[in-house]
């Protein structure tokens, strides 16, 4: 059996992740997080905050909750079930930063936390910023030409 045949054999017999079940859980948990975010938005608006600020406050509240739950050691247990439901919303990003920070604390604040806090979130920040710049340039060119 050569490498290619072995690879096909292994992939053929490997039990796959239960995609439908995972999607269902992700839908429920992702939906619940978004509903919670909406509830915070409404709450802040009822308290007299204007819409744009209330929206930022709602995001910050979700980030805070995700980091708190990460610190309490609960987030990963929820995420094990929810999968993309917790990773895709802003909660996933907060967890990836907070968990890296917690993990590297033993190497100190400079060489540990400082150097490694963005180990997982780093690519998102880098390429997110770059695509933002690219989008801005395209937007500028299109509006300049069109307008």
């Amino acid at each position: 059996m050569d490498k290619q045949e072995y690879k096909e054999y292994v992939e053929g017999r490997m039990k796959k992740s239960p995609i439908l079940k995972n999607c269902f859980h992700a839908f429920l948990m992702g939906g619940a997080i978004c509903t919670l975010g909406q509830a915070f938005l409404e709450l802040y608006m009822v308290l007299g905050v204007e819409r744009a600020t209330a929206s930022t406050l709602a995001s910050i509240t979700l980030i805070f909750l995700a980091i708190l739950l990460t610190g309490l050691g609960v987030f990963d247990n929820i995420a094990r079930l929810a999968g993309a439901g917790t990773i895709v919303p802003i909660t996933g990003f907060a967890n990836s930063v907070a968990s890296s920070a917690l993990d590297t604390k033993s190497e100190g604040y400079v060489l540990g936390v400082g150097a490694k806090i963005f180990t997982i979130a780093g690519p998102v920040i880098l390429f997110g910023t770059m695509s933002g710049v690219l989008y801005g340039v395209i937007y500028y060119l299109v509006t300049a030409l069109g307008g």
Partner: protein
């Protein structure tokens, strides 16, 4: 000895084993059999790496005490773990006044240490040796995968690194002898999925087992147990299936340390346990005591290890694996 089995003219015997595990392992099916467990997986230390060293220290101190020897009686310590530069062992065994050799064989380290020591013993170079191995779920998760509190999902073929350390004192006294040794070759069948290490390691086990039976002319029926460590569910199934295709049927007497240590369903460990501590504690707490009592007379222990690093995987490399075979026999009354 190229490709050959090493028949040990002077057989070393396992005088004592001592096992230390974490909380999850002590809640598993073998929980009652381990010598010591700690509900605090940090073992009262301030980092996971120090916790792992502490386990090694407790394990070897325990084995020494059980054997009745003191550290200066021991000629050499053969120890290893999963951490970079084998720091778990180097720091953990600092307190003992014994020459030390650090080993890296990933999950095969327990078999590797027992086997190298057996060869030195058989060649009259040493009279008493210690073999110590450990792994810690938290320290290896940090090194090989994601931060501990990171919220991700595991695939069905993923294995769970055992938190545990097993130590053996081996010399001239004891009822369990090491009679033969066959060192494995590093084999890479192109598997790149870190979440399917069983599939990466199975070909190495197949190679070693096939070579063993071809040279000796024995068949699996001649053994009470053939125990691999740690292929987990996926790797064990591949091993049995592909060996059967070669005419070697081990389906009736094969087991795997990664399948024994956890209850896969109840403890949510997917394909089972892994890590060099896994075979070290399962052999030390379950299999070797059964040989000592005479319940098992002839056992083949095949330690299997996946020899990758996160860096080689990021570079697109596949996972080489190795399997060392140690034949254990009952030498009681």
């Amino acid at each position: 000895m190229k490709d050959k089995i090493i028949y040990l003219a002077r057989e070393p015997k396992i005088s004592a084993c001592y096992t230390v595990v974490g909380s999850k392992e002590s809640n598993g099916p073998l929980g009652q059999l381990f010598d010591e467990h700690c509900d605090d997986d940090k073992f009262s230390k301030d980092s996971w790496e120090k916790a792992e060293s502490e386990m090694q220290k407790r394990a070897f101190a325990g084995a020494l005490k059980k054997s009745g020897f003191i550290d200066t009686d021991v000629d050499i310590l053969l120890a290893g773990d999963l951490l970079n530069q084998c720091v778990g062992s180097a720091y953990g065994l600092l307190d003992f006044d014994i020459p030390y050799l650090g080993l890296y064989g990933a999950c095969s380290t327990c078999a590797e240490g027992l086997a190298i020591g057996a060869c030195l013993y058989s060649g009259n170079i040493i009279d008493l040796y210690g073999a110590v191995t450990s792994s810690h779920y938290c320290s290896s998760e940090r090194q090989f995968r994601y931060p501990l509190e990171y919220g991700g999902q595991r695939t069905p073929t993923a294995q769970w690194t055992t938190t545990g350390a097993g130590a053996y004192v081996v010399g001239s006294e004891g009822k369990v002898a090491i009679s033969q040794v066959l060192f494995g070759k590093a084999i890479d069948m192109g598997i790149t999925d870190i979440n399917n290490m069983g599939a990466a390691m199975a070909p190495a086990a197949i190679d070693t087992i096939t070579r063993y039976f071809e040279e000796t002319g024995h068949s699996p029926k001649d053994f009470d147990l053939i125990v691999t460590g740690d292929l987990g569910y996926e790797g064990s199934e591949i091993l049995k299936d592909l060996l059967l295709g070669k005419g070697i049927d081990i389906t009736n007497n094969h087991t795997d340390c990664g399948l024994m240590i956890f209850d896969r369903e109840r403890q949510d460990v997917h394909a089972g346990g892994s890590g060099c501590g896994c075979s070290a504690v399962v052999m030390g707490a379950s299999v070797i005591p059964r040989i000592e009592r005479g319940e098992l007379k002839k056992v083949l222990f095949i330690g299997t290890g996946a020899l990758m690093s996160p860096m080689t995987l990021f570079q697109g490399g596949s996972i080489p694996a190795i399997a060392h075979l140690v034949r254990l026999e009952y030498r009681g009354e």
